[in-house]
Subunit: 190 residues, 4 copies
DNA sequence: CATGAATGAGCATTCATTCAT
DNA sequence: CATGAATGAATGCTCATTCAT
């Protein structure tokens, strides 16, 4: 008996992500996904009850993965401004390197696959952004960052980063730095 | 009589927008759309060759409408900063009042209906944002705004506004003003 | 516009009956049924929401049809015994001529398509058997038929008729008459 | 060890019978059957080549079992009428106690699993009914039972018993006796 | 022998589009 | 022009059967 293959499950999810980022959620055809993964159609249904469950699992899978990776290895030394900008840079690069994730999240948020439970999404995303929240609060405590609800701050930063990451391939380091500077100026106390 | 026809065409487009913002592009069923509009399925095909054309027409229709409305009646008096913030406020409110448009644009950008011609979208959007571009350039000429590519500036602002507008219903005027201040600080020369 | 065709609906039901009697309920394939009827697959779904509804409608359709036809034109003259035997004869012949109906009812009764609502079936069947019930009660009032619950009497007669009708093609009139005599003897007061 | 295997084979057949009587032949899913039995799907295919063979074996298994059990221990003393009625009573009870068997036979007779060989079924059933045949012939020799083809007589009795057994749970002994009396009157010479 | 993951043909159902009225 | 019944390709999902372990 072949044992249920965790690697295979991951392959299905990863391939699904790639396909969704190209053709959208509704463009994801189970049979084509199976072919891409190199398994039979039915095999996918061993790992996921149906398309909805596949997509919801993909969402959770990505949130968890992002949580782990997003802000690891942020520089711990230097001034606060330095740390913050380094974190933003890391974040932008991460999002830019995995635009499919960003695209998928956008698609998912507006889809019937997300069972109206938008709060759950927001909460999970907050978890992934925990380090950024912490950094901001730290800055606020040190009177380096404006004393505005961190939700508002994160919202603006995320919006900007999201938009930025879509175009990051067309940008050079100087431009990215300029953007990071803008973000810093937006929230810093001068 | 031609008048009635144009009304019907507009009704189809508007209803389509509403439906797409709720169920997504692929969730838009031609027969249901027809029912909502109060016409027969076939009638829609008199006005639009197929679903793709309907959606592309909707895109153009919205771009034009937004261009007209987005920045009209911006305050012309007061300091530059005052004018700029007023323009942003207007923009945020406009986007917030018509979230369907924002949602549709997001959906459209990533869809197979948009024939890979993402540049065309960007160009049209730029047209709609012309007044904002002009304002920024004016500010740069007066050395009030950082001398960064206006594309970058717009990108950040739009990202922030987009994210903001999604939540605007949960925000009070003070919070919105705080965000506008952040945006201004991001791009202004201090 | 073509108007929804009552004849077509009937054709679908009749063809479905024929097919079910040959291959069973689960053997009924919507696409093949469509081909047999001479329409596209989708057309069937215009008239019936899904396979379940098709089958349930078929059931009601047959019950009504049988109700109308089962005992019409029963001899009104002659002795009671004569009338009764004539009614039975008619009934046996009807069932024998339309074995598909009998087969379908059997299949339906035990199927997941019959939504557990077996009482509804029984009630409808009773309606179809009304004339037979009346006849029996009449006989009981005249002290010609045993004073047993008419339900029991009907049950036995139906069981016998059902079994008989399956074989009726292999039987000659003498044999059928012998059976009818047995049925009469079973219930008559001697 | 062979013993254990036969037990497992029997378990598969018995569980299949139970399931079929509930969900029908087509409702029987091999994987679910396996789960119910407590073995792996593949195991069933060690004992039966495929679903068809499983069902055909089940049929034979039941016919043999019924033959053994149906008429054993029929009272040997008393008048012929007494013996006959006792036999019928036994038969009704047996059928009533095992309605799944009755249901399965009905399903099987009309199914594509029974390879058109309906005569074979009838023959096997006749074998099971041998004791009843014998009893009837004995009665005919003693001029107690009508001189009608025993096939016809059996047919009527079986139809009646089948119908009766479906309802037997709602019937009390008096009612069952009334039915047995009717059956006797149907075939006896008065 | 036993297991249950893997297979893929097969089927119910949907929905964009057409066309007879 | 307007209608909505008809079409049928496309798709999600099932399940009998196989086979690697």
């Amino acid at each position: 008996m072949r044992t249920k293959d965790e690697v295979k499950e991951k392959m299905i999810l990863e391939k699904a992500l790639t396909m969704i980022s190209k053709v959208g959620l509704s463009g994801l055809k189970m049979s084509i996904l199976a072919k891409e993964v190199g398994v039979a159609t039915g095999t996918i249904y061993i790992y996921f009850k149906d398309k909805r469950e596949l997509i919801n699992h993909l969402y959770l899978y990505l949130v968890r993965k992002e949580t782990e990776l997003s802000f690891e290895n942020v520089y711990q030394d230097g001034s606060f401004e330095c740390k913050f900008k380094s974190a933003l840079d890391k974040y932008i690069r991460r999002v830019a390197t995995n635009p499919e994730v960003q695209i998928f999240f956008e698609q998912y948020a507006r889809s019937p696959y997300n069972e109206g439970d938008n709060d759950a999404i927001i909460e999970e995303e907050n978890k992934a952004l925990r380090p950024l929240f912490d950094l901001i609060e730290m800055g606020q405590n040190e009177a380096l960052i404006k004393n505005i609800s961190s939700n508002l701050i994160i919202m603006m930063l995320c919006g900007a980063v999201g938009e930025l990451s879509c175009q990051v391939q067309h940008l050079n380091q100087t431009e990215i730095n300029a953007c990071i500077d803008m973000m810093w100026d937006a929230i810093a106390i001068h």
